[in-house]
């Protein structure tokens, strides 16, 4: 990224102002059945400014990062906020401030792989699948690398630099059963650059063997019986539940927009076994998948304990919502591209581990399902959610039974969390998708396995 001393422009700030330079670097390699169908790199960078004037915001951005354009975007953002302020004629208020200085760089220290070496890695993975897994009729491997590098200064004195990389390898395997395709995909990877995660293809072989085994069982599997069932949601599903169904309802802008959580503060919304946190950068002594040390408004990021032993305790804030709710900003304001304004986003949202053993939880279910992998998920302001489930098993008399085909689970999260009767003592993070809310953004989701009652779709 172009090195710019943004501090030299603070004299141009006439209102509360954020000035940010950002570069996103993306790499994609897609291999389908031995053919390289995608082989691309993309770089998007630029400068943006956001200003706050009497309760209204102005924003402007430009892809050219030079002295002339930095001055231009500051001026254009200021004019935009003044355009609205002059018409809206609000009294305005002062934004809360929690300034700091931070520099965090998660770039690899290893020698970088060339494009040829990365493609050879992908072809080796593809070749192994073709050679070893005889019932696979179609295979797709997609490698996606994202580096987000940002520099920010604010008029209230913050100065931030960060380089946060993410490397993900999505593998989708298809087989056939009774003439119909059956597919199972999985995402591998997390925080870090390629060299830190995938030094050799062998690191994936064990997990690929498991992936294939689950696919074959799924092909011979059954559609679940629809209706309310006792289920064990494994860590990946507990994570998406934390994010989609609870997390979004406790984002302060969604609360202002009418979220059901707005009426539940300090009330019992879940089983006392449930504590749910949006972690800023570290959890249980480990660095999180999407570490945020300071957010894109220059606020020092802190953990937001949303549900504490079943009681709703807090919302996630940016500066403006903190001012509205008379709360402290939590450092949840994040922007995806240089041309995006920061909005309230989750960072690393997870239910904390409990005391039960997963095997004991499964053994305690007489007739239900063990649901392991989600596809996509959606939720709304009522906390009603829907998640696709692509991998799971029946539980009959305390033992895992047949695999199930793709299905959907749904419910109202604040009702469903009250049915939680056990939480496992382990924890797993995922970082495989993008959260969508005006802009996409990488998020971490995690958790233990939870035992609950949930509505499952059938056929």
């Amino acid at each position: 990224m172009v090195a710019v001393e943004l501090g030299t422009y603070t004299d141009l700030f006439s209102e509360y102002t954020e000035l940010r330079v950002q570069e996103n670097r993306i790499m994609n390699v897609t291999v389908v059945n031995g053919d390289v169908m995608g082989n691309s790199r993309s770089t998007g960078s630029g400068v943006s400014a956001r200003t706050f004037s009497k309760g209204t915001w102005g924003f402007a951005s430009n892809p050219v990062i030079d002295d002339e354009n930095i001055r231009k975007v500051i001026g254009a953002a200021t004019r935009n906020s003044q355009f609205l302020a002059g018409r809206e004629k609000r009294t305005g208020y002062t934004l809360p401030s929690s300034p700091g200085r931070s520099s965090e760089d998660f770039s690899t220290k290893k020698k970088r792989f060339s494009q040829k070496e990365i493609i050879e890695f992908m072809m080796e993975i593809d070749g192994r699948i073709d050679e070893k897994y005889s019932r696979v009729v179609s295979r797709t491997s997609v490698l996606q690398l994202l580096d987000m590098e940002k520099s920010l200064v604010t008029s209230d004195g913050s100065s931030v630099y960060s380089m946060i990389p993410r490397t993900l390898l999505y593998i989708s395997l298809s087989t056939e059963h009774d003439g119909e395709p059956v597919q199972l995909f999985n995402a591998y990877g997390s925080l870090g650059q390629f060299e830190d995660l995938f030094l050799t293809p062998e690191v994936l072989y064990g997990r690929l063997d498991e992936h294939y085994e689950h696919l074959i069982r799924k092909a011979e599997g059954v559609h679940p019986d629809s209706g309310m069932k006792e289920c064990i949601l494994d860590a990946d599903l507990a994570g998406i539940l934390s994010h989609e169904a609870i997390g979004h309802t406790t984002e302060a802008d969604i609360v202002r927009g009418g979220s059901v959580a707005g009426d539940y503060m300090d009330q019992q919304v879940a089983s006392p076994l449930v504590t749910l946190v949006d972690f800023a950068n570290r959890a249980l002594g480990e660095i999180c998948p999407v570490p945020v040390f300071m957010d894109d408004e220059g606020t020092v990021a802190e953990d937001a304990v949303l549900i504490d032993n079943g009681i709703l305790k807090r919302f996630m804030h940016n500066k403006e919502s903190a001012a509205y709710f008379d709360a402290r900003p939590t450092g949840n304001a994040r922007a995806y591209k240089f041309s995006d304004e920061p909005i309230i986003r989750m960072r690393n949202t997870a239910i904390l581990p409990g005391k039960s053993k997963l095997e004991d939880m499964i053994a305690s279910v007489d007739d239900g399902y063990y649901l392991m992998k989600p596809s996509n998920g959606q939720a709304d302001s009522t906390s009603e959610f829907m998640f696709g489930v692509v991998q799971g098993y029946e539980i009959k008399k305390g033992r895992l039974g047949r695999a199930i085909r793709d299905t959907t689970i749904s419910g109202v999260a604040f009702d469903m969390l009250k049915t939680v009767t056990a939480v496992s003592d382990d924890m797993k993070w995922t970082n495989g998708g993008m959260c969508g809310k005006k802009q996409p953004i990488p998020v971490g989701m995690g958790g233990p396995a939870v035992k609950c009652r949930i509505n499952i779709g059938g056929k």
Binding site: V32, N33, D35, V36, M37, N39, S40, R41, S42, T43, G44, G46, G55, T56, W57, G58, F59, A60, S61, P63, V64, A76, N80, L84, E88, Q115, I118, I119, V137, S138, T140, S174, E180, P181, V182, Q183, S226, G227, D253, R256, G257, G258, S259, S339, S375, D380, S381, T382, E384, M386, F387, G388, V390, D406, T408, S410, V412, K438, G457, G458
Partner: protein
């Protein structure tokens, strides 16, 4: 270099000089002016400029792609070197190609610049209308933007295409609340080339806002039955995009598409005719140049139930040995049917008016399931009450075959024109 055509010419020449045997260049300049409402108040005016320069190069059937958002000579020269490196690093695939020589063409649609004062006035009027007519409705967010995109395409076969198009788009997102009772979140979308009417009069915005206030009193039921669903125009797009996905490159190349052997065959009830019309004057949205460097044309994908065309790119066509589609899909238009919406509702013994579908990604075999959001229970030909926590499931092939009626009435959303469609034999179940 300031002139965009000079830049694309320079890029193609530089790629050729670097040794790439085939090369192409897409240059897009995008300016967006966006007015935002948050929590019922005008909150943000955002102006963004961006440039996208995409360079594709093919060397011995090996392809590399670089995308940057800079157009200075040094950045372009660096990008050209990277394209060569990527192509050299890749594997040969004879399906890689660029579009042939075509007659040079220039296309234009929409205003050059937004009317910011009118955008502000329309938004203020919308806020006033919303608060006066639907006091229980909370506008979580509303975005009115004007986007102007200049596109330039050039390749080493001599193709030279250019377009400029602009449109306003409006997306309000809302929920309703009475005491502690709230409705499910909902949203509407609309695009137009002119802000020539009130925003609430566009598309189905007013209908959805009214429904939102009713959905505060949504009810669940504990039953399971096979019944009819009437898919509203707001929801129909979700299903069309699912179906289009099976007709496009990836599932066709992988050989897993449920429609892979269905070209020329009946895949839907004969009442259904589906077009992709990116050039339509009826639509504000669309495109003149495809993503694989061709002048776009309108097409009919399903004609009276018969699959008329896949949605294959040049690469997808080369890879599968089938015909390239004359466009890349989207801009969907469904022909009107012979029934009124009231007749369709009146014919339903038991079913759901499906206004929004929140579903998992459909399986490769076409199975889908999900939640009927913002929807209504229908019994004995009458809409009874809004529902919550109701799921539906089915298979896309069966859904197309089980179409019972299509409405005369259609809604022009600016990016699609869609009717109501009644489908029988769908599994519907409560808790």
């Amino acid at each position: 270099m300031k002139d965009r055509k000079d830049i694309t010419e320079y890029c193609v020449e530089a790629l050729q000089k670097a040794g790439l045997q085939k090369s192409e260049c897409f240059l897009h300049d995008t300016r967006k002016d966006e007015l935002n409402v948050d929590s019922g108040e005008i909150s943000l005016l955002r102006t963004t400029d961006d440039t996208s320069l995409i360079l594709n190069g093919i060397l011995d059937n090996k392809k590399g792609t670089i995308s940057i958002n800079k157009i200075d000579r040094q950045s372009i020269d660096d990008a050209v070197k990277k394209v060569l490196d990527l192509a050299e690093s890749s594997e040969a695939d004879s399906a890689n190609d660029i579009s042939p020589m075509q007659p040079p063409a220039v296309f234009e649609k929409g205003a050059q610049a937004p009317d910011l004062d009118l955008m502000y006035t329309r938004m203020k009027d919308f806020l006033k209308y919303s608060s006066e007519h639907y006091p229980s409705l909370i506008l979580e967010q509303a975005i009115l933007d004007f986007t102007n995109i200049n596109k330039y395409y050039r390749n080493s076969n001599g193709a030279d295409l250019q377009s400029r198009r602009s449109s306003y788009s409006f997306v309000p997102m809302f929920t309703s609340k009475e005491g502690t009772e709230i409705s499910s979140f909902n949203y509407a979308t609309f695009s137009t080339t002119e802000l020539d009417r009130n925003l609430h009069e566009c598309g189905t915005i007013d209908i959805l806002m009214k429904q939102s206030t009713e959905q505060v009193r949504s009810r669940e039921f504990q039953d399971k039955f096979d019944g009819d669903i009437i898919i509203t125009p707001d929801c129909l797009g979700t299903f069309i995009y699912m179906i289009a996905m099976y007709l496009s490159d990836y599932p066709m190349i992988k050989g897993t598409s449920i429609f892979k052997d269905s070209l020329g065959s009946e895949i839907a009830d004969p009442q259904l005719t589906l077009h992709s019309r990116p050039l339509s004057d009826e639509l504000a949205e669309g495109y003149f140049i495809t993503g694989d460097g061709f002048t776009a044309e309108n097409s009919t994908i399903i004609s009276k139930g018969v699959l008329n065309s896949f949605i294959l790119s040049l690469y997808g066509a080369n890879k599968t040995g089938r015909t390239r589609a004359v466009n890349r899909g989207n801009a969907y238009v469904v022909d009107p049917g012979a029934h009124t919406v009231d007749e369709m509702t009146g014919s339903v013994e038991r079913g759901i008016l499906l206004c929004r579908f929140s579903g998992g990604r459909p399986s490769e075999n076409g199975d889908f399931s999900g939640v009927a959001k913002n929807s209504y229970y229908i019994e004995n030909g009458e809409i009874k009450y809004p529902v919550k926590e109701i799921m539906i499931s089915g298979n896309l092939k069966n859904l197309l075959g089980n179409i019972k009626r299509i409405s005369r009435e259609r809604v022009n959303f600016g990016d699609t024109i869609l009717p109501w469609i009644q489908v029988g034999d769908t599994a519907i179940f409560g808790k």
